[in-house]
Symmetry: C3
Subunit: 275 residues, 3 copies
């Protein structure tokens, strides 16, 4: 396991963005109805090639052809859960990196249980959630609905435990993001409060993480890099923004305009050793 410094994380982020732009990795998404359009547009703006597919008849074929698989449980039904399990297991078996977004874990039994089952079957390299969702996966109380009812710092111990238990990097996003593999942690201070005022910004961050995983071997660097890139795009979109409708438009524009230099200049990361 490599030990990262702040500048290594930042340089990985910049390099990964360039690799995405050049290689246009195919990212397979099994995600919720609410954010499918914005997720696909986010990945296109970043430079990746999204495909959305959920039929059990095709998900294994597509997941193993893709360079990353994004599983998001934002709107569930039994058929979709089955598709996620099939795709996740196929991806894991073939070494295609998986990222899991446990939307609303803790808000209903179905969501908590599905997230826990996918942790096992799909063996995600990264789990990205808000503090309430990560607490719920760690056995804690969870939140009401899909919006976080807890601060990021309340979920730190759960995140580290979950990372050590599953081998996944856990990314808790909020005012300041916390990304850990259970040994090291990266704090990412990029982002803006506007991101919490539109639907699907967390889901978009997860999809961006999928694209970064497609081109960066270290899951810690990929997850932190994705949050740096997405956060900086959020900051630029927020600058002088008149409202949440405009923010959505500007966020896609900012993602497409993002470049290596901007990442190197604006990244705000701090490393921590996990106690």
């Amino acid at each position: 396991m490599s030990i990262f410094t702040e500048s290594m994380i930042t340089e990985c982020a910049a390099r990964a963005l360039m690799r995405i732009r050049v290689s246009r990795p195919l990212v397979h998404n099994i995600t919720n109805y609410v954010v499918m359009n914005t997720t696909a547009n986010t990945l296109l703006a970043l430079g990746a090639s999204p495909i959305m597919a959920h039929a059990r008849e095709e998900v294994e074929e597509l997941a193993t052809m893709a360079r990353a698989l994004v599983l998001n449980i934002g709107t569930l039904s039994p058929a979709w859960i089955e598709a996620m399990e099939l795709a996740g297991a196929a991806a894991a078996a073939r070494g295609v990196p998986v990222v899991l977004d446990p939307v609303g874990a803790g808000a209903s039994r179905l969501r908590t249980e599905t997230a826990l089952r996918l942790l096992e079957r799909a063996r995600p390299r990264v789990v990205r959630g808000n503090a309430s969702e990560i607490l719920a996966l760690g056995g804690g109380a969870g939140g009401k609905g899909v919006d976080a009812a807890h601060a990021v710092d309340e979920a730190r111990a759960s995140a580290s435990d979950l990372a050590r238990r599953t081998g996944a990097v856990v990314a808790v996003t909020g005012a300041e993001d916390y990304v850990t593999d259970g040994r090291q942690a990266v704090r990412v201070a990029n982002g803006d409060a506007w991101l919490g005022r539109i639907t699907g910004s967390g889901c978009a961050a997860t999809a961006v993480t999928g694209a970064f995983l497609a081109v960066e071997h270290s899951a810690l660097a990929a997850a932190a890099g994705a949050l740096i890139a997405f956060g900086i795009a959020g900051e630029r979109a927020a600058d002088g923004c008149p409202g949440p409708g405009s923010f959505q438009v500007r966020l896609l524009d900012a993602l497409a305009a993002l470049d290596e230099d901007t990442i190197l200049r604006r990244a705000r990361v701090r490393m921590e050793v996990v106690a």
Copy 2:
């Protein structure tokens, strides 16, 4: 039953908006695929906390945890109808207010029958539809497709009958909205023709009604207040608007910027006694 004056309706609308902003009520939506994203963003812009969920395994749990339930039949399938019935019955049993949007009632037997069944099982406090949909629920001819083929005034008698028969407040939206509990009626003249030129503006008005029902006990005041607030946001978004793409963006911006004073100043309501 209270008797409302114009100024009471307007003041309720302003107060309800402030309550939504302060208490961020969880609003559970079982709605159609077309508008899920815009519905969630509309509720967030207004200040509420949306959750979209349709699995029969979780809808009762979420509907009773929420402070309002929005049922919208815009895209149907048997599994979704079942989920709406389960959630609606659970909400009704626990006193969680339900609002029903009978999208396309009259355009197909499936839609008409589903809307009628949900009227019975979910006992909605408010039904919001266009004139053709309300006519179809009253046994009339209905429209072609999902766009209204009738003027609001043609549906007045159907609306009053439906309100008296079901106990729901019926809101017919169009050039001038007509909201009635079968005894009193409120005419809301806020809004703009641009709202008819984007998809899902009716569905968004229904979701806003859900948020108002979460904080305002009177269904008549909640439904009228929601249409006042949404209509004013539409007017502000329309001002100098270059096209329907821009209108969608501006509508979310205007909803987020809406405040108590603007409602008190711009509300255009008239009370009527139903014959």
Copy 3:
């Protein structure tokens, strides 16, 4: 079979747009989750009246009431495939024109087979796809994912064969679109590279084709006209565009602002005889 000249194609396009604006044809869409919202807004911006419906209980009723049916396989499941077959057969039997978008044909067996089955059952008047999709339907290699991996010219022979074999007009879209009935071909040079940087622009072009088919008897003229109109809107949206988020907004604005004169002035078409 009529022989078209460049100016006939252009005049048909302009006239069809006006007819759509006047008659507001009902266009029934069974399409994928990703683009439902943008498809509905595209049709509204153009002047048509969209309905999205996929329940087997209502699709035959709606498809025969509509003036065109759009089938798009972008996100599939067995229930949706069945609905598409039922609706397609009902439309074909009643003379309602069908347009098929074989999204991702070649990327998975399910998609290729479903597209081929719909060609048979729904007898589409137009098939619109990217080069990889049309190659896959012609028995070729197909692409990775849903983005084209081939240039339009590589798919010319497949397009002509497919047209002759099925009786459908085949429209291959890309840098320069190629539309053929197997005897004549129209090259449409309108459009902009920005269209490839947002999700669902191909699906939107297909929906626009549906609206044109509703008002124009010649499938060749309808398909070419739709691509001229959509392409010109894309050019205007691209002018000075800061990013893909803005492009989406501007595209809807440009579609709504499109008029007959602009089509006559800006159409860039060339006729070819198919060898």
